[in-house]
């Protein structure tokens, strides 16, 4: 690996201050994504070289899962994915989230990778990760995916850049109406995860609203209401080391087999986790059956604009929404 410098932060404020002073600094949590990025020696305005790593794992009390029936769930930013996935509280109250935290990468990566890192990880577009492609997202002047190998790219909301957001936990958390505690130079604020991710139209050089000197300190999930159920399904080729071809997270309040309220969020299809509002609206007040579930899937994908090699994802996404919705009814 090429050289860089290291700083062990002692508090969120300390880390924020250090970031503010150093344009070429990045924070390191588990490092499972960031070190790969450094080893690949990527470079560009959208892929800044980290010449200084600020360790946030050294900040005390940042790894925890806290639950209470009234206040809901709090996840410390540095909590490893495995801890989230195996937490009895999460398994019981948010099965969709538990499953999504068990899906990324491999057991070893889930041992080290943090929940915040999973949300903040950079996209996996193979052109972005290739040192030799100066694409839009790196600050270049072209999207190689448009004319190139785009079988895993976006079918919805691509524009300029056609990445798909890589995180498995993001759709699950958004489906559960989670929010993020963001710390920055001006203190802390809460941002709904639904508004946390931004598409290339807003800023092609990054994927979230966070500024260089802002950090994700905690994730909160509201307490589950009565009859609230959640599920997560991910399609991959080999289960391990496999980003989603398509994933779907659903969370809904189901009463007497009827969908009262809820969210449907797709992963692997758009530059951000994709809130399938068309499906949500169509399901509201409907009895969940094969027909209404299929309809939810079909309506969502009406807007799909597949690229040259990824039309197959449209069918998978439709089917997956239907499966996930049906699974809530039977759960």
């Amino acid at each position: 690996m090429r050289s860089f410098k290291y700083y062990a932060a002692t508090s969120w404020e300390d880390a924020v201050a250090m970031l503010s002073k150093n344009a070429a600094a990045q924070v390191i949590a588990g490092g499972s994504d960031l070190l790969g990025w450094i080893k690949d020696d990527l470079n560009g305005p959208g892929a800044p070289r980290a010449d200084l790593l600020i360790d946030i794992r050294t900040i005390p009390n940042t790894s925890y899962v806290k639950f209470d029936a009234a206040g809901g769930l709090k996840l410390g930013a540095l909590t490893p994915l495995v801890t989230v996935a195996e937490s009895a509280d999460v398994l019981k109250n948010y099965p969709g989230l538990a499953k999504s935290a068990l899906s990324p990468a491999s057991p070893a990566i889930r041992n080290v990778g943090s929940i915040a890192g999973n949300l903040m990880q950079r996209p996996r577009c193979w052109y972005l990760r290739g040192k030799d492609f100066a694409c839009y997202k790196k600050g270049g002047d072209f999207c190689f995916a448009v004319t190139g190998e785009n079988q895993y790219h976006a079918i919805l909301e691509g524009e300029l850049c056609y990445i798909v957001h890589p995180s498995d936990t993001a759709p699950a958390l958004i489906a559960l109406n989670a929010s993020a505690k963001v710390v920055g130079p001006g203190g802390a604020k809460d941002v709904a995860l639904d508004k946390f991710f931004i598409g290339p139209r807003t800023n092609v050089l990054k994927e979230t609203v966070l500024e260089h000197n802002e950090l994700l300190a905690e994730i909160s999930v509201p307490a589950p209401a009565a009859n609230w159920k959640s599920a997560f399904i991910k399609v991959t080729q080999r289960d391990v080391y496999d980003f989603a071809v398509v994933s779907v997270a659903v969370a809904g309040q189901i009463e007497g087999g009827v969908w009262k309220d809820g969210r449907v969020v797709l992963g692997g299809v758009a530059p951000t986790p994709y809130r399938a509002t068309a499906a949500e609206d169509a399901l509201k007040g409907q009895k969940i059956d094969e027909k209404s579930a299929r309809n939810a899937g079909d309506l969502t994908l009406v807007k799909a604009r597949p690229m040259s090699q990824n039309a197959y994802k449209v069918d998978i996404a439709k089917n997956l929404i239907a499966r996930a919705v049906l699974s809530l009814a039977s759960a």
Partner: protein, 237 residues
């Protein structure tokens, strides 16, 4: 956590980022494959801004003094180099104090500096787990851990399993069931299996497969790996 490892080593200088790209840009390829086209594919990249201090040669430091874990103010210190920090590691029961540069990974320390070559590097990118070691009992990819961040931790490598000339049950089982072909992924597989069996008695086949699922074996010795873990589980139950 260990105080040594957590405090800032030296105040990092502020640096300007050179963002000139070494990458291929659109123009070359859009203009197409015409012969004789002159393009600058690779410009000098952004290191000029850095003024690396003269490194001290330490490819293989003098063997660190090994001491029993207790009692042990570890004394062997490799001469510090620029950017390096003093890191204490307990590896297979021995304490080491080492001067380690920020970018040095744990596997580099184990293999190159400590001579513990049993751990294997397959991808250097968290994509194969050939480099698995136990860090405070948790199986980790040693290629993707910065050694500087592991100060104060207890590391166990495949060399640390055999006790008093007796193989660990997982080692014995991998041998007897031939849970390998070429043997390159094997130390990693074994460490992963040890992690599982330390915390789960009598795992089901599904648990074994899920737990071992990140450890790649291109020889495809998977059926025997499963058998080996099953056999070891019986021993350790």
């Amino acid at each position: 956590m260990n105080e040594e490892g957590n405090k800032p080593g030296q105040s990092p200088e502020e640096e300007t980022m050179d963002t000139r790209s070494t990458a291929v840009t659109r123009r070359q390829f859009l203009i197409g494959a015409g012969a004789g086209l002159v393009v600058g594919a690779a410009a000098t990249a952004g290191l000029q801004a850095l003024q690396p201090a003269k490194p001290v040669e330490q490819a293989k430091p003098a063997p660190p003094v090994q001491q029993p874990a207790q009692p042990a103010p570890a004394t062997a210190i490799v001469e510090p180099v620029s950017g390096a920090k003093l890191v204490k590691l307990n590896v297979n029961g021995l304490d080491y104090s080492l001067a380690i540069e920020p970018q040095t990974t744990l596997i580099e320390v184990l293999k190159r500096d400590l001579g513990l070559t049993g751990t294997k590097l397959g991808c250097n990118g968290s994509m194969c787990s050939a480099c698995t070691v136990l860090v405070d009992g948790v199986a980790q990819n040693s290629c993707s851990l910065l050694a500087i961040r592991e100060s104060g931790k207890k590391i166990v490598t495949v060399e640390g399993l055999e006790q008093g000339g007796k193989l660990h049950p997982v080692q014995e089982a991998f041998w007897t069931q031939m849970g390998y072909q070429c043997g390159f992924c094997t130390p990693g597989q074994i460490m992963r299996a040890v992690e599982l069996l330390n915390k789960t008695k009598n795992p089901t086949d599904a648990q074994i497969m899920a737990h071992m699922s990140g450890n790649m074996c291109k020889c495809g010795a998977y059926p025997n790996i499963l058998k080996a873990v099953q056999a070891a589980a019986k021993q350790m139950a």
